[in-house]
């Protein structure tokens, strides 16, 4: 697209949407949000960028091909599930480590396998949607 207004506006918008997608990802589990919605928003950011600057430029900005992002996400999500193996729990049991307390109300924050799973989902959705849209954009 050859609109200078859109191209200039896109730079601002892409950064905002992308940061918002990370916010949604980290907010998940206890509050509305999570990997899926975050991944969709992240994909929207890159789609706006590719509308403004073309898919080739977007691929360069991504650095890794979207298919690889998606499959790595699948691997990360699996790792989150397998983590409970070492703790002696069934598959995909959430592993929680609370910092400064022992529950959601009292702790400052937590380190957990649920977030790892959400990051995996985020990458799968991001990579999956982007590889679809690139396929459409690059053919025409």
């Amino acid at each position: 697209m050859n609109s200078i207004i859109f191209t200039a506006g896109a730079r601002l918008l892409v950064a905002l949407v992308f940061v918002f997608s990370l916010f949604m990802l980290l907010r998940g589990h206890h509050l509305p949000g999570g990997g899926f919605i975050g991944g969709l928003l992240g994909a929207v950011a890159f789609i706006i960028y590719s509308l403004a600057c073309g898919p080739a430029e977007t691929r360069r900005a991504l650095r890794v091909s979207p298919e690889v992002i998606a499959i790595l996400g699948l691997g990360i999500a699996l790792l989150a599930g397998l983590a409970s193996f070492f703790m002696g729990d069934p598959f995909f049991t959430g592993q929680w480590y609370w910092v400064g307390g022992d529950s959601y109300e009292t702790a400052a924050f937590s380190i957990n396998s649920v977030l790892v799973f959400d990051i995996g989902v985020y990458l799968v959705v991001l990579g999956g949607i982007l590889s679809l849209t690139f396929a459409f954009e690059e053919e025409t």
């Binding site: 499959i71 069934p90 598959f91």
Partner: protein, 499 residues
């Protein structure tokens, strides 16, 4: 303990990740092969656990049934998982010889492993919605595998395949929604009690019919099978073998599970319909095969006709009949996948799968001819091969019920199966190669490698072993049938298990 149920699903997924990352290197195919070997080990471990404990169950994420997702394996699930791993390994070996590098780079092995994971998941899940998810995993992976490598034929086949399968999953999904509406649960073991206690039994029967249609499309039974012969003759042979062996059997398995565990309130009605559906499936399938002149199309129609025997085993609903159905399921997967492998090799030798354009394989490839006879005549039910025992059990069950018409159709279909197997034998193997058709039109000398012969020989050996030593397999099928007909063990293990 719970992990024996997880690894058969997790291993193919992990393999898919690594195989995709290494898709541009030769390492990709070896990762796939190693993953398939590991899957076989994992499913063997599951089988050992099931043989020791009967029914085993695990609650994912530590959420107790019926709220979380339960994985559960009884004898039927365990044997299906093992046979899936065996077919997966055979295909992974065969693919080494068949799949060109260009296709490997597109992520062939990752898709293939995802398909295996989906099939295994469908066999192991104890949750109805989770079953739907596995169906979707299978559908997406199989659609990609169907069209991978390109070409007009493949795309045409792929669209028919996806359109009809989407209709089936939508009917299935609506059925799930209705069932949840009247019972408030989707855990299969929990559903057994909840469905029996439901007030509106007429609605339950309607839902049962929706499930029958949904699974029926997957299993390719009588009025719903059109997608199968339209799509199975186009992809790579390794792919059509794994499709022919496993995909329709997931539908049969789901029918067997739901119509022995959940929908048993009105057996006189639902299973009577199944009997007629099965008979028509058997008959139309075998007649369709007789009219075809393409190696793979004949085999595709035979899948349909054989599916009829398996659903007949379920429909007759006696211990002996179900035992025959389970035995048939296992025997058929081995034999059918093997026949598609043979078709692939026949094409390598003779240049085509059109029976009019090929011939003389008996002379040019005697080993292949010998290896073709075993699965072909096992399929037709020649003693002492595995197919004979499978048919024998079903026919005996029908005779015990004094259902003479059913018996007659079963035997007639067996006879017609022999006819089309001898047709392939006559045209492809015995007849001299026809004049004017170059056996190697568009390529260098036939690309036949040990990688392609090995799985054929291995599966043929398994057919012979089952044929000559049917005793342990029959006993196993008997226990599986007993568990299906009296699922109290299944229900208590799922609902009572403490993680």
């Amino acid at each position: 303990m719970s992990w024996v149920l997880v690894f058969p699903i997790a291993v193919p997924f992990i393999t898919a990740v690594f195989a995709y990352l290494a898709r541009n290197y030769p390492a990709g195919r070896w990762i796939s092969l190693a993953g398939s070997v590991l899957s076989l080990v994992a499913s063997a471990a599951l089988m050992v656990a099931v043989l020791r404990d009967g029914v085993i169950a695990a609650q994912m994420s530590n959420w107790d049934a019926p709220f979380g997702i339960t994985l559960v394996a009884d004898y039927l699930s365990a044997v299906m998982v093992v046979i899936t791993a065996i077919t997966g390994l055979a295909t992974a070996i065969y693919a080494l010889g068949e799949i060109p590098e260009k296709t490997e780079r597109l992520g062939f092995y990752a898709l293939f492993q995802t398909l295996i994971a989906g099939v295994t998941g469908a066999f192991l899940t104890g949750d109805l919605f989770n079953l739907y998810v596995w169906f979707e995993v299978m559908l997406i992976a199989s659609f990609s595998l169907l069209v991978i490598g390109g070409g007009k034929d493949r795309l045409d086949a792929g669209i028919k395949y996806v359109a009809l399968n989407l209709v089936s999953t939508l009917v299935f999904l609506s059925g799930i929604g209705l069932l949840y509406g009247i019972t408030g649960t989707l855990n299969m073991a929990d559903l057994r009690g909840a469905v029996a206690a439901a007030e509106n039994q007429a609605l339950v029967t309607v839902i049962a019919m929706m499930f029958m249609v949904g699974f029926g499309v997957k299993a390719a039974v009588f009025p719903l099978f059109f997608w199968l012969p339209a799509s199975y003759h186009t992809p790579y042979f390794a792919i059509s073998a794994v499709f022919a062996g496993l995909l329709t059997k997931v539908g049969v398995y789901a029918l067997m599970r739901m119509f022995t565990l959940v929908f048993v309130g009105d057996v006189g009605f639902t299973h009577e319909i199944l009997i007629w559906v099965s008979l028509l499936t058997m008959f139309t399938g075998v007649i369709g095969a007789a009219a075809q002149m393409d190696f793979r199309k004949i085999l595709s129609f035979h899948i349909i006709s054989q599916i009829g025997y398996m659903t007949l085993g379920l429909a007759l609903y006696t211990p002996l009949a179900l035992m025959g159905g389970v035995f048939y399921l296992v025997h058929h997967i081995i034999v059918k996948a093997n026949l598609f492998f043979v078709a692939g090799l026949a094409k390598q030798y003779a240049g085509s799968t059109d029976l009019n354009k090929i011939g003389g394989l008996y002379k040019s490839a005697p080993l292949l001819a010998a290896l073709f006879i075993i699965p072909a005549f096992s399929l037709a039910g020649f003693p002492p091969l595995s197919g004979f025992w499978a048919k024998y059990l079903i026919v005996k069950a029908a005779i015990e019920l004094n259902m003479w018409f059913v018996t007659f159709v079963s035997l007639l279909v067996g006879l017609l199966t022999i006819y089309s197997m001898t047709k392939i034998w006559g045209y492809a193997f015995w007849k001299p190669h026809p004049e004017g058709y170059d056996p190697t039109p568009d390529r260098a000398p036939p690309r036949v490698t040990t990688a392609m012969i090995t799985p054929i020989a291995g599966l043929a050996a398994m057919t012979i072993i089952i044929g000559f030593f049917p005793e342990p397999f029959v006993q196993f099928a008997e226990t599986a049938a007993t568990q299906l007909l009296d699922p109290s063990d299944y229900v208590t293990t799922v609902l009572g298990v403490q993680p």
